[in-house]
């Protein structure tokens, strides 16, 4: 087969598929965002941006991503290297660590609400151990910081496994000789991690980060379960426009804004973690 044509042949199925099931409906929906009373207009964008909750939900979404994603990255790296070194029980430990992958965000919200609510498990534990006299109200509007923290914890619990699986699959591909060579030159484990694991893992790191960041901007179900109305996030506002207000144009405009933010961050990650064509020995 012609080597110049081959890549196009390989990406053709995905492209056709996405054109039909994503691009086509996407263009229809996106067109709504620019629809106004008379032809093309930016009214929808102006409306959603000027709504008083917009800056708040933007800030919350960003802060949450800024806190959750780095922690997850560090945790996933730590877990992946630990699994890598493990001799006994690797299968079992890896299985346990990937469990949250199978739990939908709705179910995760239910689980963590059962922990943090006033008569929940955390309060039961604290009163049981005598740390608190009575149940403490963690999820109240008076402590937005605590609410934020609870949501971040739940998100870290739920979605670290996404990165872990990608990184574990990637770490498995790093040839052992690299580590052996590094050891011969007297590199400490920390140095081996910095000099061998991290650079060799770059493609997987890039993928894991991009997927996780994009998903972090769409956080919603867990926030709604734990934060109620206290912590508006962008995705919640999109749903409110689409279904409560039945304003498809505004919802589409808002979704395009989120899309824009995602693209910017994706490009940044692509730039920073540039992957060379195929690794060389």
């Amino acid at each position: 087969m012609n080597a110049r044509l081959l890549p196009y042949v390989l990406i053709l199925p995905v492209t056709l598929f996405l054109c039909l099931f994503f691009l086509y409906p996407f263009v229809l929906v996106a067109a709504q965002a620019f629809g106004g009373s008379d032809g093309l207009s930016l009214d929808n964008f102006r409306d959603v941006v000027s709504y008083w909750k917009f800056p708040i939900s933007l800030k919350n979404t960003m802060l949450l991503a800024a806190l959750v994603v780095p922690v997850q990255l560090a945790l996933a790296l730590l877990m992946a290297t630990m699994v890598n070194r493990m001799k006994k029980g690797r299968d079992l430990v890896l299985y346990i660590w990937t469990i949250p992958l199978g739990i939908s965000d709705l179910a995760a919200g239910i689980i963590w609400l059962a922990i943090f609510e006033q008569s929940g498990f955390l309060n039961s534990m604290m009163t049981g151990l005598g740390l608190a006299e009575g149940p403490v109200n963690f999820l109240s509007y008076q402590n937005p910081g605590l609410v934020f923290l609870a949501i971040a914890l739940a998100e870290i619990w739920r979605a670290t496994a996404i990165m872990l699986v990608i990184l574990v699959a990637g770490i498995g591909l790093i040839p052992k000789e690299y580590y052996e060579a590094a050891e011969v030159f007297g590199a400490s484990p920390w140095q081996r991690f910095l000099r061998v694991t991290l650079p060799m893992l770059r493609p997987s790191l890039q993928t894991a980060l991009i997927l996780r960041v994009v998903l972090a901007f769409e956080v919603f179900a867990v926030v709604a379960a734990l934060g109620g109305t206290l912590l508006p996030v962008l995705m919640g506002e999109i749903y409110a426009y689409q279904f409560d207000l039945q304003n498809g144009g505004a919802a589409a405009a808002m979704a395009l804004i989120v899309l824009g933010i995602s693209i910017v961050f994706t490009l940044i990650i692509l730039r920073v973690l540039r992957v060379p064509k195929g690794a060389t020995i």
């Binding site: 609400l113 009575g134 509007y141 734990l226 109620g228 409560d244 039945q246 304003n247």
Partner: protein, 422 residues
């Protein structure tokens, strides 16, 4: 490539098997009501099993419900036969999308409801299906703190505040519970209870001085409200676990508490303010979309749902009351007895000031609710100045009323043309 081909044909085969599943001829009942699993199951087993021909009852959240319906209307064909939803869901729809039901010969015994169900046309667009209301409920532990001289069945807002305050001071915990969560029905409290009780209006009086007083009172009550209320959407949960002792909510969202521990809780009417005891009904209806595959069976199902026996069965299953004249049996579940009595006392109270559901807002119903929810979030949670917030929100409200041209509804005084915000 051979293995790839084999896989591809396996996929095609699986797809074929999956898509050739036999289609049943059941009437598809697409509903936003009776969603909680237990209620849905009761609808299927106790209410719809008596219908000849079989019904596929599928409750959905508003999002999927609406998306599916709109897709069928846009595609011009579909599988939904009967729609079940709140008045607000239907009023947001184009009446052309619904089959006229005026000739069906069934309707509610309440002319007010039938009027609402015409959606501004001159014939029924949906048939009133069932009704409910919002009431108060309390844990019996709270009764000892009731202020002296207060009658629980004729409370005023001041007494309610004093009561919540007494509980707060005596137990150290704020135990008033308010459904301010993401799925909570808080906007109805402002529209149908607080505003009518203090301003004798909703739209006209939105930014009046009386409205400022109403919000001040609510802010006072909020001092004694469980701060986790912003997570509460179904107050039965907090009644049961003790996080709240005195609560306001929809009758069907309190039902579980009464059914599980009937002796621990009491239901009572909403409190009264200077302009009476404001309260508001909840109305659900049945409609047939213009794309229904089997309109005749759909009509038969609607007629079946309005039979007095079916209405009683629906009451047991969902805690929504009949809209036709039906004799209530004695062996109703505790929740129905408790809430039924509270609603009856509320409507029979000498100072009753019943309001209507917002009408004529079309697809702006959500925007209308948002005005009240935003005011709540800014005034109560954000601590902003009441006067300033109301003057600010007033503009949005006026824009909605002008755009839709909706005339005033009770308790606002009638208007010529769009209801003015004064």
């Amino acid at each position: 490539m051979k293995s790839l081909n084999a896989l591809a044909s396996a996929v095609a085969a699986a797809a074929f098997v999956a898509s050739s599943a036999p289609l049943s001829a059941d009437v598809l009942f697409w509903s936003t009501q009776a969603r909680p699993v237990e209620e849905a199951q009761a609808m299927r087993e106790q209410v719809l099993s008596g219908f000849e021909g079989g019904v596929d009852y599928q409750p959905n959240e508003d999002g999927p419900w609406l998306t599916r319906l709109n897709a069928e209307l846009e595609a011009g064909s579909g599988s939904i036969d009967v729609l079940g939803a709140l008045h607000g869901n239907f009023s947001a729809m184009n009446p052309d999308a619904l089959t006229d039901l005026g000739g069906l010969g069934v309707s509610s015994s309440s002319e007010t409801f039938n009027g609402l169900a015409k959606l501004g046309t001159d014939t029924l667009q949906y048939v009133p299906w069932m009704q409910a209301s919002y009431i108060m409920a309390a844990s019996k532990e709270a009764l000892q703190y009731l202020p002296e001289g207060a009658d629980i069945n004729a409370l005023s807002y001041d007494q309610l505040i004093a009561w919540a305050k007494a509980v707060h001071e005596e137990t150290g915990d704020a135990k008033f519970g308010f459904p301010a969560g993401p799925k909570g029905l808080k906007h109805r409290f402002f529209q149908g209870y607080l505003y009518p009780s203090y301003t004798n209006g909703v739209v006209r009086t939105f930014a009046s001085d009386e409205a400022v007083v109403a919000w001040e009172k609510f802010r006072e009550l909020w001092q004694h409200t469980n701060p986790a209320s912003t997570n509460f959407s179904f107050m039965q949960e907090q009644l049961l676990n003790g996080d709240a002792w005195i609560v306001f909510d929809h009758t069907s969202r309190l039902a579980q508490a009464f059914n599980e521990r009937p002796d621990d809780f009491v239901a009572f009417p909403a409190p009264a303010g200077p302009t009476g005891r404001g309260f508001m009904p909840v109305l659900a209806g049945l409609a047939i979309p213009s794309t229904a595959p089997d309109p005749e069976a759909a009509k038969a199902l609607v007629a079946y749902m309005l039979k007095p026996e079916t209405q009683i069965a629906t009451l047991r299953a969902t805690n929504f009351f009949p809209v036709v004249d039906a004799e209530l049996p004695d062996d109703l579940p505790p929740s129905v007895k408790a809430s039924g009595a509270a609603v009856a006392k509320m409507s029979a109270a000498p100072d009753a000031n019943p309001g209507l559901l917002p009408a004529g807002l079309g697809d702006k119903g959500g925007d209308f609710n948002r005005v009240f929810v935003d005011s709540f979030e800014r005034i109560i949670l954000g601590g902003q100045d009441i006067r300033r917030v109301l003057d600010d929100q007033k503009g949005r409200l006026a824009a909605i009323m002008e755009e839709t041209g909706a005339p005033c509804w009770a308790p606002d005084a009638p208007s010529d043309g769009a209801c003015p915000v004064e």
